[in-house]
Symmetry: C2
Subunit: 342 residues, 2 copies
Amino acid sequence: MKKPNSDPVPEIMRKSTLEDVARLAGVSKMTASRALRNAGDVSRANVIKVQAAAEQIGYVGNNLALSLSAQSTNLIGVVIPGLSNIVFAEVLSGIADAIDGTDLQSVFGVTDYDPEKEYQTILNMLSWRPAGLIVTGLDQPEKTRKLLEAADIPIVQIMDLDGDPVDAVVGLSHKKAGADMARALLDSGRRRFGYVGCRLHRDTRAAKRYAGFVEALAAQGHVLRCEALSEAPSTVHEGRRLTAEILETDPDLDCLYFSNDDVAMGGVFHCMARAISVPDQIMLAGFNGLDFVDSLPIKIATSRTDRRQIGRRAIGIISSGKGPKGVGSRMIDLPAFIDLGQ
Amino acid sequence: MKKPNSDPVPEIMRKSTLEDVARLAGVSKMTASRALRNAGDVSRANVIKVQAAAEQIGYVGNNLALSLSAQSTNLIGVVIPGLSNIVFAEVLSGIADAIDGTDLQSVFGVTDYDPEKEYQTILNMLSWRPAGLIVTGLDQPEKTRKLLEAADIPIVQIMDLDGDPVDAVVGLSHKKAGADMARALLDSGRRRFGYVGCRLHRDTRAAKRYAGFVEALAAQGHVLRCEALSEAPSTVHEGRRLTAEILETDPDLDCLYFSNDDVAMGGVFHCMARAISVPDQIMLAGFNGLDFVDSLPIKIATSRTDRRQIGRRAIGIISSGKGPKGVGSRMIDLPAFIDLGQ
DNA sequence: CTGAAAGCGCTAACAG
DNA sequence: CTGTTAGCGCTTTCAG
C-alpha cells in the first residue's frame, strides 16, 4: 500500500506523531504520551513543554494506533435502513444525545432496505472492532444473523420486538400497534376500511403493522375492503397518489389506514384538495406521531412512538453493558400509543 | 488500557486473527493474508484451505491494523449540523449513493449547530485519519479553520458558497437565493412583505438568505414590514405558531418569506385553518423545494436545491482528488432555482 | 518521575 | 509460490 516511490512518506507533509512531539519537547515518547493524557506522573515542567510542542506542530493523536494498542475502540456502529424517513434520523438523534458527554463515537451505515448491503455494512463495521452494534429490526437473514451472533460485543436490535433477538432489543411490537389501531378505529365506529401503504415487502415493520391490523379486524368479523400498495419509497407524493387511487376504486370507505404518517399526509392533502371531510366522511390513520401531525389543519389518527428514546435506551444498554452479549441481555418495550386525533 | 487481570484476553472469546486462520490452514500469516485478499500468487490449494479456515472460525479482518499498516483509511468524515432537518439526511443519502460501489466508508458526526461541538467532532474524526472530510458551511471559527487547514487531506465544505473556503466547496449562494426570491416575488406584484424564521443566528445559511432577501427588496425601494423570529428549531409547529403571530401583528401582508419549507408548511396549515386564501390574499415562500411542496393542496413558492447532488459531488471531489488539498481544489455551484408554484 | 522494550494485527519488501 | 523481517503509532509493562 506504500507509494511505489522509495521515500517512506514525503517528510514535509506527514502527519506529525507522538515522536515528533517528544523530540521537540526534548523528552521520550512515553513522557510525551503521559503528559498529553495526564496519565501517571510527569513533572510540571515537562507537561508544559510537551503541551506546547503538541500545540506548536498541531499534533492530532492517531486513534488507529491507540485502538489497536488498547485492543478496543470507542466506536458504536449503527445500521439503519435509510434516512429518507425522518424516523431514523430521530433515532440517530437520540443516540447522539445519549453519547454526548461520554467518549463514545457513533458510526452510521445505511442499508437502503437491502439485506445484502446490510450484511456488508455490518461486516465492515465489525472490522473496525466497535464496542457495540445497533442494528435495525429482527429480520436479518441467516448469514447476517450468524455474523451478529459470533461478534463478541453487545448487539442491540432496535425498532422491532416481534421476533427472535440476537442479544438485546429496544423497540415496540408493530403487530400489536397495528392491532391496537384497528380496535381503536372499530371502537370509534368505523367499518369500511381501506389500506394505503408503501414498500411493504422491504419494510418488514410496516408489514407487521398491516398484518396486526388485518388480524384484529378479522377477530371482530371485519375485513379490509381494498388496498392501494406501492413499492416506491414512502413519500407524501406517493401517499397522495395512492389515496386518490383507492378512493376512486371505492369512494365509500369510511377509514383509511396508512403505512405511516408521511403517506398519511399525502392522504390529508388529497382530501383537502377534494374537499372530502375528515374525519366526518372518512377517517385517516397513520403511524409514528410525527411533529407535523399536530399542526395539520385537520385531525388524523396516529400511533405515537418515541424514536429518540429508542436511540437513547440502545446506547444505555451498550454502555452499561457488562461486556459482550448474554450477560446484560435485555428487552425494552417502548410501546406506541394510539392518538385518534379527536 | 489492558484489563488489570493478568491473562492477556480470555482465550475463548478473543476475536480470531489472521494468525489463527493461518495456523488452522497450515500456512504462514502471509500466505493467508494473500489468499484472503487474492493479492500476489498463492497456490490454488492454499487459497481453498485458507478460505475454508477463515470461514470456519468466522474470521473478520481488523481494519485498525490494516489501516495502521497501510497508513491510510477508506474513511470519509462527514460533519453536519443535525438530522432534524431532512435536508441533511438527503445530503447523506447522496453521499451514500456516491460511495456505493467504492470501498469508501462514511462516518457522520452531528454538531447541533454548536461550534465547540463541531470542533470536537472534527478533531475526533481527524484522529481516525480519514481519507477526506466533508463539513457543512464556511463559517467555522478560527480554531476550527486552523485544524482544517493543517489537515493533509482533501476538505470539502458543502451547502454554502458565500465565504472563504479552506479547500474545495460544493453548494450554492444563499445570499443570492434570498435575493432571487425577493426579486421574483416583487416581479409577481407582491409589496407588503413579512418574514418568518427560526434559528437565524445558529443557521448562518438561513441568515444569509434573509440578508440577501432584505437587500434585494431595498434595491427596489422596498422593506420588510415585519418579522416573526424564534430560536427554536425549524418545525412545522413553530412555523404555524409564528405565522399566526405575524398575521396578528399585521394582517395586511401580501407575502411571507419563510426561513425554509418546513416553517413554510406551518404557514400553509395556519392559512388553511383560517381560510386565508393562498396565494390570492397572501403568498407564501419557503426554501429547499422539499418533496411535500408539490403535494400540498395549495401552492407556495420555494427555491429548489439539489441536496443529493451536493453529497455526490462532494464525494466526487474527494475520490477524484489527486491527494491532499490545494491540488484539485474546486468550487462547484449548484444554484437554487425559483419556483413560484403557479 | 522517566525511559527502553515489547506488542496490538496486519502488510510491503525481500529473500528463498 | 512461500515464509521471514520490519514497521505502522501508540501504550503497557518493567527497570531505572
